[in-house]
């Protein structure tokens, strides 16, 4: 029997029982669609988070107070029990590192903003003039914070686009006075609207000089220091220089944490990658179930077509012919199911993208390949047993059964 004939015969056999075949294809399709949709979701989430972090800027090092690793015991551990705060002078000192181009100290707090009787809660961010370049924000109107001494508490503010809209509506905001907490500040600029960044929308932010913020919140500590290295390759040596400077300023104890974007990205990438893989594994279970279903259906088909198998043997079919015919049928069912499932899965992923435009829910190629491969693999694997059973039927008994 030529392979073209085997295929044609198997296809005719599959089409000869439309209900059975369509149910079978549906089961396989659901399995493959589950893999495609779930991995699209997982990978979409991963890409979303990675994208969020990438928007931080590529050569950033973030300095935060406190240590998040156990570093053993040194002299400093006996002197201090709580980590020292980060201060503005730390930030200024960091600028001495040769590989550092810019820094931005961050001081964050919540306060109330009021103008002309309108009042709302806002997040106030104290920083310096370099912040806008480090974060790559853009101004809609006016200018960003002036370049000045970090200790100088100028009474100026830059507001986010949403704040401007809510407080000023259509009237001009730049040049107006606002009250933030107990301070009267003059608006010198409005940020261009931007999306979410690390869960903090710049659209709802009031940015003031770092000294102003520290005065406002009556503190002299910093929330973070953002440091920009000169270029991407300088990230690791720059981090070393920063650590040296900070250690020197802290009696030899490095009780701060330095994170690079690569490290954060790598971690999230790994976590969400594992999540995607887990989800794909769950979806793969449905494929295995579909595979068992293929076996069941093919076993029933062998029983149903015992007479036919006997006849084919009487007409001179070898065991191999019959095995191949049944195996081809299982493979065809699996391929059809896999293709339908692939289409359904992409439809589902499209639906997700439509419903949640921020989520880039595209199924990763490896998942699609694995899904289709597993479908075909299980179909064939579970088709072997029925095919062998068919090829081993005793022709005399098979013919007698009708």
């Amino acid at each position: 029997m030529t392979s073209a004939d085997t295929l044609r015969f198997a296809a005719r056999a599959a089409l000869g029982y439309p209900l059975r075949t369509s149910l079978m294809v549906l089961a396989m399709a659901i399995g493959v669609a589950a893999v495609v949709v779930l991995t699209a979701l997982g990978d979409g989430a991963r890409r979303y988070v990675v994208g969020e972090f990438a928007s931080l800027g590529a050569n950033l090092i973030i300095v935060l107070p406190g240590r998040n690793e156990t570093g053993g015991v040194n002299a400093g551990s006996f002197v201090t029990s709580t980590p020292r705060d980060l201060t503005v002078s730390d930030a200024t000192a960091l600028l001495r590192a040769p590989l550092v181009s810019r820094i931005a100290p961050l001081s964050v707090g919540n306060s109330e903003i009021s103008v002309g009787g309108k009042l709302r809660d806002v997040m106030v961010l104290g920083t310096n003039a370099d912040y806008i370049d480090i974060r790559q924000y853009h101004m809609a109107q006016g200018q960003f914070l002036p370049r000045e001494e970090l200790g100088r508490a100028s009474a100026v503010a830059v507001i986010g686009d949403k704040i401007r809209r809510e407080l000023f509506g259509a009237t001009a905001a730049v040049g107006r006075m606002i009250r933030v907490g107990d301070n009267r500040l003059r608006i010198i600029g409005v940020l261009a609207p931007a999306g979410q960044g690390l869960g903090m929308s710049t659209d709802e932010l009031v940015i003031v000089p770092v000294a102003t913020a520290q005065a406002m919140f009556n503190t002299n500590t910093l929330f973070r220091i953002m440091v920009e290295a000169r270029h991407r390759d300088a990230l690791a040596p720059a981090q070393k220089q920063l650590e040296d400077i900070l250690r020197a300023r802290r009696e030899g104890e490095l009780d701060v944490t330095l994170i690079t974007q690569d490290a954060v990205l790598g971690t999230f990438d790994r976590i969400l990658g594992a999540l995607t893989l887990g989800v794909a594994g769950i979806a793969a279970i449905s494929l295995a179930v579909a595979g068992i279903l293929v076996m069941n259906v093919m076993l029933v088909a062998v029983t149903q077509r015992t007479g036919e198998i006997g006849l084919l043997k009487a007409l001179g079919a070898t065991g191999r012919d019959i095995r191949l015919a049944f195996l081809s049928e299982a493979a065809l069912l699996s391929i059809a199911g896999a293709l339908v499932g692939y289409g359904l899965g992409h439809l589902g992923a499209w639906g997700i993208r439509l419903a949640y435009p921020v989520l880039p829910a595209w199924p990763p190629n490896w998942a699609v390949a694995a899904g289709l491969g597993t479908a075909l693999g299980t179909g064939l694997l579970f088709g072997v047993l029925p095919a062998r059973r068919a090829s081993r039927l005793d022709p005399v008994q098979a013919l007698a059964k009708r």
Partner: protein, 237 residues
């Protein structure tokens, strides 16, 4: 050399704890072109004999020479090849594949033999025409009458031009008139030189054969030839 030569064939089935001798030391010679009816009560072993002759079953003892070649020692796949090329089957219940059209059913042996599709089509068309089925080529078995179905089955059995045609109660499921038509068809094929072996318990049909083998309890009781009885193992004329 006889076309078919059986010597000391035995076939035993185990039913529960009792053994049934379906065939008991059967020896037989059939020449090419003979017309043989195998007759006997049910359970006498005639179907088992036919299955053995068609290489669907293996004897427990004895030898079967088909055209001088010992086919009992062949592997299952080698037997399949011999069956495909030399033997045609006609069954009582036709055994057509229900989802295939008449033409596709007739083409099955050619397909199994690996004959390419473009060679199959004219051969199938000629066969269907020979059996008066050209108008029915695209009909499925369920759309055919019993007589037509059996004609499709005969067309299928003869498409490979086998040397031996084995028919198991070929008229058993047909009414008298169509049964006679089918019998005439088989006899016409025999007249063209194909060896025809028919299992039947219809005495009318058996009576038309030139040679009758009467079976009972797995053994050949009588070998009647054109009216004259001879002993079962005697050489044919």
């Amino acid at each position: 050399m006889a076309q078919i030569e059986l010597s000391g064939i035995e076939r035993t089935f185990t039913l529960g704890d009792s053994e049934v001798h379906a065939l008991d030391k059967v020896s037989l010679r059939i020449e090419a072109g003979e017309y043989v009816a195998v007759m006997g009560p049910s359970g006498s072993g005639k179907s088992t004999l036919l299955n053995l002759l068609g290489l669907l079953d293996r004897p427990d003892a004895g030898h079967y020479l088909l055209e001088g070649r010992d086919v009992t020692t062949l592997s299952a796949d080698e037997q399949a090849t011999v069956r495909r090329a030399r033997i045609g089957f006609v069954f009582q219940s036709f055994h057509l594949v229900p989802r295939l059209t008449a033409a596709e059913n007739v083409a099955l042996p050619l397909m199994l033999a690996g004959v390419p599709a473009h060679e199959r089509t004219p051969r199938v068309a000629r066969a269907l025409k020979d059996f008066g089925l050209q108008a029915r080529a695209d009909h499925r078995p369920e759309e055919l009458s019993g007589g037509q179905r059996q004609r499709v089955a005969i067309a299928r059995a003869t498409i490979m031009q086998p040397a031996v045609l084995l028919a198991d109660e070929p008229t058993g499921n047909l009414d008298r008139h169509t049964g006679e038509e089918v019998t005439a068809l088989l006899e016409a094929l025999n007249a063209d030189g194909t060896t025809l072996i028919v299992v039947t318990h219809d005495p009318a049909m058996g009576g038309r054969a030139r040679r009758r083998l009467m079976m009972e309890d797995g053994a050949l009781r009588q070998d009647l030839r054109a009216g004259a009885a001879t002993s079962p193992t005697a050489a044919p004329t």
